[in-house]
């Protein structure tokens, strides 16, 4: 990507310095993998308006990690077990045909509250190591091991293959569930399958960004891209590009600063989102036209700069 040279403020030497450290290389690798995965899954999530479900699944990672610590198994297992179970629970209890949005969201909220309560209980039973709690909630970008990078890569590859296979019917079911159902697309099972996939993505992302900040990579790039363009292919690539730029820039800057990577990543992502919304708003206001040919070319340039 062309964004690579803008990794830090004073290019060249600093990039070399960053890459000299193994932990930074690992963090960049893991961050890039996560950005791609979260971007693609998050794009679908934003399209399907399942942001709240995604947020709840990201909260699932908290009891997952603290529960795993409590019974002494690797945290990764806990992440995947709880996020998977949460996805199934949301799919099972809130996906009913006759449910209104308010009822669905109430169910999702209840699931989330229960998960967090359990997580807090696990932390308390574990003995309340507060430093660990902060890491759990806000991530350990800079402490990623080689093994974790491999696991991340494998899970991402698997999830992307599944997402690729589901993409067409899922897009159909997301855009118009009734027509898709009439054409024989299994809307309900697709929805649950997507939630499980979302759970996987979240479980993976939250190991790096922490439970509370998963959303920076899951929702913000996708929301930005979909605000910029309505063309699915373009906005998908834009999502991934924004995610990568944000992760690289955030990690790079946090290396030279005392403040955590999570803050910079969310701040950059949000800044891009606001800039994109403002530009699109200005252009859209000037030519109040449904097709809006203008927003497609200028905003991406503004975004990457």
């Amino acid at each position: 990507m062309q964004a690579d040279p803008t990794l830090t403020w004073n290019v060249g030497r600093d990039v070399g310095e960053v890459l000299e450290y193994h932990f930074m290389v690992n963090a960049l690798l893991a961050g890039s993998i996560v950005a791609v995965m979260a971007g693609l899954v998050g794009w679908m999530m934003v399209l399907r308006r399942e942001t709240f479900a995604g947020h709840t699944l990201s909260m699932m990672a908290f009891p997952g990690a603290s529960g795993a610590a409590l019974i002494g198994v690797p945290a990764t297992w806990g992440y995947f077990v709880f996020c998977g179970a949460g996805a199934l629970a949301i799919g099972r209890f809130s996906g009913g045909k006759s449910r209104s949005w308010s009822e669905q969201s109430a169910t999702i909220g209840a699931v989330q509250a229960l998960a967090l309560a359990l997580g807090f209980l696990f932390v308390n039973l574990y003995g309340g190591v507060l430093g660990g709690l902060d890491n759990l909630l806000f991530g350990t970008f800079l402490g990623v091991s080689d093994g974790q990078v491999l696991v991340l890569a494998a899970v991402t590859a698997g999830a992307l293959v599944v997402l690729g296979g589901l993409a067409r019917p899922l897009l159909f079911a997301s855009v118009d569930a009734d027509v898709a159902g009439a054409r024989g697309v299994p809307v309900r099972s697709l929805s649950t399958a997507f939630l499980v996939l979302l759970g996987l993505a979240v479980a993976e992302t939250s190991q790096i960004t922490g439970v509370l900040l998963v959303f920076a990579l899951l929702v913000t790039p996708a929301a930005t891209a979909q605000a910029i363009t309505a063309r699915p292919g373009l906005s998908l690539w834009l999502t991934v590009a924004i995610g990568l730029v944000v992760v690289w820039a955030g990690l790079g800057v946090s290396y030279f600063s005392v403040y955590p990577a999570g803050f910079f990543i969310t701040a950059f992502a949000f800044a891009i989102y606001v800039i994109a919304r403002v530009i699109v708003g200005v252009l859209g206001g000037r030519s109040a036209d449904l097709k809006a040919p203008a927003p497609e070319s200028p905003p991406p340039r503004g975004v990457i700069a």
Partner: protein, 290 residues
């Protein structure tokens, strides 16, 4: 149990906070704003930490952050009652601005992390404990004055919600008709979310920023399942929340290893699960009869 002062304080503050959560939560669920409530609850965290970093009382930051963001969500959002009454399609029923809410509150959480670092570098230690208190609440740690103030504010929020209950209900159920009849739906929407911000800031002190959604959404959702009329529903939501609060406090007192925030939220969700099963049975019976 009642001979302990911290327990009396917790009960006093907890009862009114639960009441406020239940009553306003009923409208939150009705208006399909659970996600907005969730966002507000998370915003409480950076608010408290910013206040701590600046060296002022954390409640100032709590209220400032939640009320400001609440008014912002209310003003920006097109959510106002849009979800209520719509059925079936998930994509069509969800309000269109959920991605915007998610984006905004992720950023605010990021700012919270920033303040957490700032606070821990400036004051040395204590930041982790402060963060944990804000996120998960410390109802057993309330002093008598704090508890009285919390109870008074929560009672005020409850009464205010009840005072605007009729027009708010009208505006939530059919916004267009209400607007045509001269109800200021826009103002009501903004006012309600700002009020919700006050409730969220209160409840953060009791169960914490991360768990207050349980108190806000679960009793209200249970009441929506069981009660027919709106005012019965509001009463039931308040009742469920207070029962969960009392039960949770008693349970946490009896079993010291259980934190009160957990027991309160687990009981609240338990009530909801029970209500969901009972509601399903009545629906099935009704369906079978007709």
């Amino acid at each position: 149990m009642f001979s302990q002062e911290f327990m009396r304080n917790a009960l006093l503050a907890g009862t009114f906070i639960a009441l406020a959560c239940g009553v306003s939560g009923w409208f939150v669920v009705l208006r399909g704003q659970v996600f907005a409530g969730d966002a507000l609850s998370h915003v409480a965290f950076p608010g408290a930490l910013a206040a701590a970093a600046a060296g002022v009382d954390e409640r100032v930051g709590l209220f400032a952050a939640t009320v400001a963001v609440g008014a912002g969500i209310g003003a920006l959002g097109r959510t106002g009652g849009a979800g209520a009454g719509r059925g079936a399609k998930m994509a069509a029923a969800a309000p269109a601005d959920d991605a915007a809410i998610g984006t905004v509150f992720t950023f605010i959480l990021g700012v919270g992390v920033f303040f957490l670092t700032l606070f821990s570098t400036s004051s040395g230690g204590g930041a982790g404990i402060q963060a944990a208190h804000t996120l998960f609440g410390s109802i057993f740690g309330l002093a008598a004055g704090e508890a009285r103030l919390a109870a008074a504010v929560a009672l005020g929020a409850t009464l205010l919600t009840l005072a605007i209950a009729r027009p708010l209900l009208f505006a939530s159920v059919s916004p267009e008709v209400a607007a045509a009849r001269g109800v200021p739906t826009r103002l009501l929407g903004v006012g309600f979310v700002a009020l919700l911000g006050v409730v969220a800031a209160e409840a953060t002190q009791a169960v914490g920023a991360l768990l207050l959604l349980g108190l806000l959404a679960a009793p209200a959702a249970a009441a929506h399942r069981l009660a027919r009329g709106p005012f019965a529903g509001i009463a039931l939501a308040g009742l469920f929340a207070v029962v969960a609060m009392w039960g949770g406090l008693a349970l946490a007192y009896a079993v010291p290893s259980l934190p009160p925030s957990t027991t309160i939220v687990v009981l609240a969700v338990g009530v909801y699960i029970l209500a969901a099963f009972m509601g399903r049975r009545t629906v099935m019976m009704r369906g079978g009869a007709s």
